[in-house]
């Protein structure tokens, strides 16, 4: 029996949270250091995943499978090249986030850290779960800590924002739950056994009409999470009101759950419906890109600007993964990481400003660079990473995304390329108004430059930005096999459908391959061979 490394990574934060319950709330520094320690340990443990990850196989690795509730509801976790990095991103950001709220969060430190850890467990769980039930449990469970984080430590309209966030997200996920039920039932009807294992579901070939509904249900949940236009309005509110750390996690990781969901669930399960909806989705993404960018341009609040920039960026990511080719999806995943880093970092920067000035309105700043040269440098790098400057991470992702899109649909790519311009426009303009120009607000004169702690948490991000920009091979190579497997899977299923249509077969309600059939089927065959 190997060490259950994935479970450790997932539940270590939870254990931390439980531990914290029993620590006196007055020992704030102990809590903080302990939290930092735990989060760093989690990160270190998660590095084990990276170094022992076998890039040669699309199969999930570090798999742990155990009976849980039964009837298909099992504990089943594992990671592949797609989820690996999202897990790492989460564990990487957590120490940073905890450091960033070291002084920002002054009251209720204990609860704050507990919720942070709960959140982390929830997020990692989403990325590692291979059982739909388990996935859904984490998916929903993670809402609660986020709800508290925004609601307790948020800004003036925190309650509105947090309620909107939770309800909006739940709207989608509840419908997804219905779809999960539906599939659960279909699988049972077809095979006589219960399963919620996603690999079993991958094998199902669903009637196209059914697929459409299921895809809509799954898609809505993910689209809200991403968020895709026009489901984006919760995001600016949530971001603006959330505490810095909350915004960071929200932007960096939470939004990725949506894109991840598309990749992991919606694509391989409903390829036919996907094809049907591709035009609509593509248009929505494009609207999201341009619309988000334009809205970002005119925001008066820095955080809300970054939030809308997220809408735009996530639009590009979605567009890229909808390209359904290796370049697009790898680019999309890469861009998810980039967006996680750069937008996360931007929020950290905004947080640093906020901590000094207690305002986030652009007009209250101006000339900050003069007072805070080191900060200015960090902010600049983060901004440029978000702009997609070559040499930094954003570029690699962006160019791959756009290339993938281009390969699939030139018109969309041409429209999508506007992101290059828009991102520069809104971010540089923001940078100009906040950091440059003469100092107009006397408060700015009292700003102190970054302290060691702030440098300490920004530096790893910046280093990673450069690393990812200069030597992306470190990251790309481990996802190749998984992504190409995904692409093939979608295409092969698609092929089966066209075949069925051609032969004018009566529409099968569902077709699950039995053991014998598996040998004939290309998907199953390869599965066997690869084992």
């Amino acid at each position: 029996m190997e060490i259950p490394i994935l479970s450790i990574v997932t539940f270590l934060p939870l254990a931390g949270a439980l531990l914290f319950i029993f620590i006196n709330r007055d020992k704030e520094n102990l809590l903080r250091y302990l939290a930092l320690f735990i989060s760093i340990i989690t990160f270190i443990v998660s590095l084990y995943l990276y170094f022992n990850f076998n890039a040669q196989t699309p199969d999930p690795q570090f798999v742990e499978k155990g009976p849980w509730i039964g009837y298909g509801i099992n504990y089943h976790v594992g990671i592949d090249g797609i989820s690996l990095y999202l897990v790492l991103l989460t564990t990487f950001l957590m120490p940073i986030v905890i450091l960033s709220s070291w002084t920002y969060i002054q009251n209720r430190v204990k609860e704050y850290l507990i919720f942070m850890f709960l959140l982390q467990t929830g997020i990692i769980g989403v990325f590692v779960a291979l059982n739909l039930f388990l996935f859904y449990v984490f998916w929903e469970a993670m809402l609660i800590p986020m709800y508290f984080l925004i609601g307790i430590w948020g800004g003036k309209r925190k309650i509105y924002a947090t309620v909107k966030f939770v309800l909006f997200t739940m709207l989608g996920s509840l419908l997804m739950l219905v779809a999960i039920f539906y599939m659960y039932n279909l699988f049972y009807k077809a095979t006589g056994t219960y399963s919620l294992n996603i690999f079993d579901y991958y094998r199902m070939i669903l009637n196209p009409n059914v697929q459409v509904w299921l895809f809509l249900a799954f898609g809505l949940a993910f689209a809200i999470k991403v968020p895709m236009f026009p489901f984006h309005t919760w995001l600016p509110d949530a971001h603006v009101e959330a505490p810095t750390a909350g915004s960071v996690v929200l932007a960096a990781v939470l939004l990725k759950m949506g894109t991840y969901g598309f990749l992991r669930f919606a694509f391989p399960m409903f390829p036919d419906a996907l094809q049907k909806f591709l035009p609509v989705l593509g248009v929505l993404c494009i609207i999201g890109i341009i619309y988000g960018g334009l809205m970002a341009l005119i925001q008066k609040d820095v955080k809300s600007l970054v939030a809308y920039s997220s809408v735009s960026h996530m639009g590009l990511i979605m567009l890229a993964i909808f390209a359904l080719n290796l370049e697009g999806i790898e680019g999309g995943i890469y861009q998810m990481l980039n967006h996680g880093l750069s937008t996360g970092a931007l929020f950290l920067c905004v947080g640093i400003l906020y901590e000094r000035s207690h305002t986030r309105l652009i007009k209250d700043f101006g000339g900050v660079s003069k007072q805070m040269p080191i900060f200015s440098a960090f902010f600049l790098v983060c901004m440029l990473s978000s702009v997609g400057l070559p040499g930094l991470n954003g570029f690699v992702g962006e160019i791959l995304c756009l290339f993938g899109v281009f390969k699939a649909n030139k018109v969309l790519a041409i429209l999508g390329v506007t992101t290059v311009i828009l991102a520069a426009a809104y971010l540089l303009w923001m940078f100009q108004r906040v950091m440059q120009g003469p100092i107009t607000n006397d408060k700015v004169r009292s700003f102190k430059d970054l302290n060691l702690r702030e440098i300490a948490y920004l530096t790893p991000i910046v280093i990673l930005m450069f690393w990812m920009g200069i030597y992306p091979q470190t990251f790309l190579r481990k996802m190749d096999v998984s992504v190409s497997n995904l692409v093939n899977q979608v295409n092969r299923k698609e092929a089966i459908f066209t075949e069925a249509k051609k032969e004018n077969k009566p529409p099968v309600n569902m077709h699950v391959l039995t053991e014998n059939e598996k040998d004939k089927d290309p998907i199953a065959k390869e599965d066997k061979e690869s084992q």
Binding site: P230, H232, P373, P390, A413, T418
Partner: protein, 633 residues
């Protein structure tokens, strides 16, 4: 001898890194020494590599050094690879050579600035990015440099970021460049899709073997050229360059005159096979270049800001380079690029020296008679002006003439005529500049006059050196009329620039063309002399006679304003309207509205909950009635 060419960009990069990390703690002297030395080292290696290249046979070109695999995903594969061939070699020489001189100049120019270290960091970073641009062996790496120099340009224009105008100009430069970059990116994608690689050598081969159709080639070429118009400040994306003068003057010299802005020309030359294959794209390049050359020159006529005049002049001169490329004379275009680097940076540095002397004064109307105060600046400035004006025996003459001759030879008479017209204007505005600055009455502000002094040696030595090069640089590419095989420059580039078709003009025609261009240059100078020395009343009279024309020229055809209303303000206004009325009211309104509707239904339903037993019984009975009714009917 070419083994270590890949170190050329890495040395400045290393220097940048050191300055970023430790710069704030290092002494000023060390900082400047390191920065200059890094560029000098690069220059030295460039020279060595250049010599090595001369000894390498054509078959071994280009020499490629693959540093590592960079972005690999599916069909999109790009190595981080550098290449050395004649084209890049020339560019490295120019970049590091001129760059070195400007670094040295900056030591003096920026001596008192508080952002000293930051300045040199940026400058080194720029050198690195520019070298990456010119040495990249594929489009993606080139794009890295392309954007990198854009970034440095942004940083350096906005170097004095606490000035609104500077910050604004930097941002404007970056964004306008990005518009071009977006098109450039699309061009790259087209190439990747259709050819499967971004390596220049592979692209050239593929085009040679007919991998793409001519119309596709045109499309790609135009897209790439749009990128070039952004970077090289051509119509319609030139508007950022005049504003870029907000940066320190050495920066204007290095980035906005000598190197970065010519990247577009370099790129077109680099992709010459594609452009030639397309044909129509070439015409576009030529026409845009010619129009820009004249257009920018007219705007330079009325400006009073020295640096702005020079900026428009740069735009105009780059237009000439594009004419060269557009008419197929890539070597001529590159040649002009090369000579322009010297004399334009000379002009800028000299202008900087003037400014330095006058404590930052830029307005020509407040100068005059500076000849005697600035004994070194004046002659060097004059040399630069003569060179750019196209007076024979100086570098500008040879290169410009080569371009115009090629244009004529290719039958692009309109382009040629525009070029000639531009040349008159060039000569005029340059000497207007000279006369207003160094001749005539002193119109100095008293405060400025008290500090009047010649610049320190760190600044003047580069001036002298550049002046020297402005004179002699042209002799590596002598025209045919002088001798058959004296165009060393063109021949050196031959392995890179595949001549599609060569048209030979008769010697007589060549001479005639030379004479015409000399004549127009002289005419321009003469008019300037008449206007500003002989009879200084003429310009005000002209202004009085043609106020409309003057106003248009003075206000640069209102292009900035038009762009602002057309693109910038309308976008912002439109976005604001959409935000207020659509995002908040419609989309968010739908979200909040559904919540409100839900609440409203709740309210209605709770009205039934009156608290009276009777009403409860009523509801109960109604429920029973409905229930039974449902069962019965």
């Amino acid at each position: 001898m070419t083994d270590y060419f890949w170190l050329i960009p890495l040395i400045p990069a290393l220097s940048t890194l050191i300055l970023v990390l430790f710069g704030q703690k290092l002494p000023k002297k060390y900082v400047s020494f390191q920065a200059c030395f890094a560029v000098f080292a690069s220059f030295a290696i460039s020279v060595i590599s250049f010599i090595g290249l001369l000894q390498t046979s054509h078959e071994h070109l280009p020499i490629i050094k693959n540093l590592f695999s960079w972005i690999y995903a599916g069909n999109f594969q790009a190595d981080l690879a550098l290449q050395l061939d004649p084209l890049s070699s020339i560019m490295t020489l120019v970049v590091t050579g001129v760059g070195f001189l400007i670094h040295v100049y900056s030591v003096g120019y920026m001596a008192d600035d508080e952002g000293y270290t930051r300045y040199f960091t940026y400058l080194n970073l720029f050198t690195f990015a520019m070298l990456i641009l010119v040495m990249g062996s594929n489009l993606v790496v080139m794009f890295v440099g392309w954007e990198g120099v854009g970034l440095c340009s942004y940083l350096l224009i906005g170097f004095w970021f606490d000035k609104h105008s500077a910050a604004n100009a930097g941002k404007k430069a970056f964004i306008v460049n990005r518009i071009g970059d977006a098109a450039f990116l699309l061009g790259i994608f087209f190439i990747f899709i259709n050819i499967g690689s971004g390596e220049f050598s592979i692209i050239n081969q593929a085009i040679g073997s007919g991998a793409i159709t001519q119309s596709l080639a045109t499309l790609i070429a135009i897209l790439l050229f749009v990128g070039a118009t952004g970077k090289s400040a051509q119509i319609p994306l030139y508007i950022w360059l005049p504003d870029a003068m907000e940066g320190p003057t050495p920066v204007s010299a290095l980035i906005h005159a000598a190197t970065m802005v010519t990247a577009g020309v370099y790129m077109v030359a680099r992709m010459n096979v594609l452009f030639t294959f397309s044909g129509s794209a070439n015409s576009v390049v030529a026409i845009i270049g010619a129009v820009t050359a004249v257009f920018a020159a007219t705007m330079a006529l009325t400006q009073n800001d020295i640096k702005r005049v020079l900026a428009y002049s740069t735009i105009s001169q780059i237009g000439y380079m594009f004419i060269g490329c557009g008419v197929g004379a890539y070597a001529a275009g590159m040649f002009h690029l090369y000579t322009h680097a010297f004399f334009k940076s000379l002009l800028f540095l000299a202008a900087g020296s003037v400014m330095h002397a006058l404590s930052g004064e830029l307005n020509m109307q407040k100068m005059g008679g500076l000849r005697k105060y600035l004994p070194l600046t004046y002659p060097t400035f004059l040399i630069g002006a003569i060179a750019i004006a196209g007076i024979p025996f100086l570098s500008g003459f040879f290169s410009k003439d080569a371009i115009l001759t090629s244009a004529y030879a290719n039958g692009q008479y309109l382009v040629w005529a525009l070029g000639i017209f531009g040349a008159v204007l060039t000569a005029f505005y340059m000497f207007r500049l000279i006369f207003l600055t160094f001749f005539g009455n002193e119109r100095l502000e008293p405060a400025a006059k008290s500090h009047l002094h010649e610049s320190p040696p760190a600044m003047t030595i580069p001036l002298v050196l550049l002046a020297f090069f402005s004179i002699v640089a042209g002799y590596v590419g002598l025209p045919v009329v002088v001798g058959k095989n004296l165009d060393f420059f063109g021949r050196f580039l031959e392995p890179v620039i595949h001549k599609a078709h060569e048209v030979h003009l008769s010697l007589g025609t060549e001479w005639m063309l030379i004479l015409i261009s000399v004549a127009v240059a002289v005419t321009g100078i003469f008019i300037a002399w008449v206007f500003y020395i002989k009879n200084p009343k003429i310009p005000p009279n002209l202004v009085a006679r043609f106020p409309g024309l003057y106003k248009i020229l003075y206000n640069k055809y209102y292009v900035d304003e038009i762009y602002n209303t057309l693109f910038v303000n309308s976008t912002i206004k439109g976005s604001e309207i959409v935000y207020d009325h659509f995002d908040l009211k419609v989309i968010d309104g739908a979200v909040n509205g559904s919540a409100k509707a839900t609440n409203f239904f709740g309210k209605i339903l709770s009205y039934f909950q009156t608290g009276f037993i009777k009403d409860y019984a009523l509801i109960f009975l109604l429920g029973a009635i409905l229930l039974l009714g449902y069962l019965l009917f």
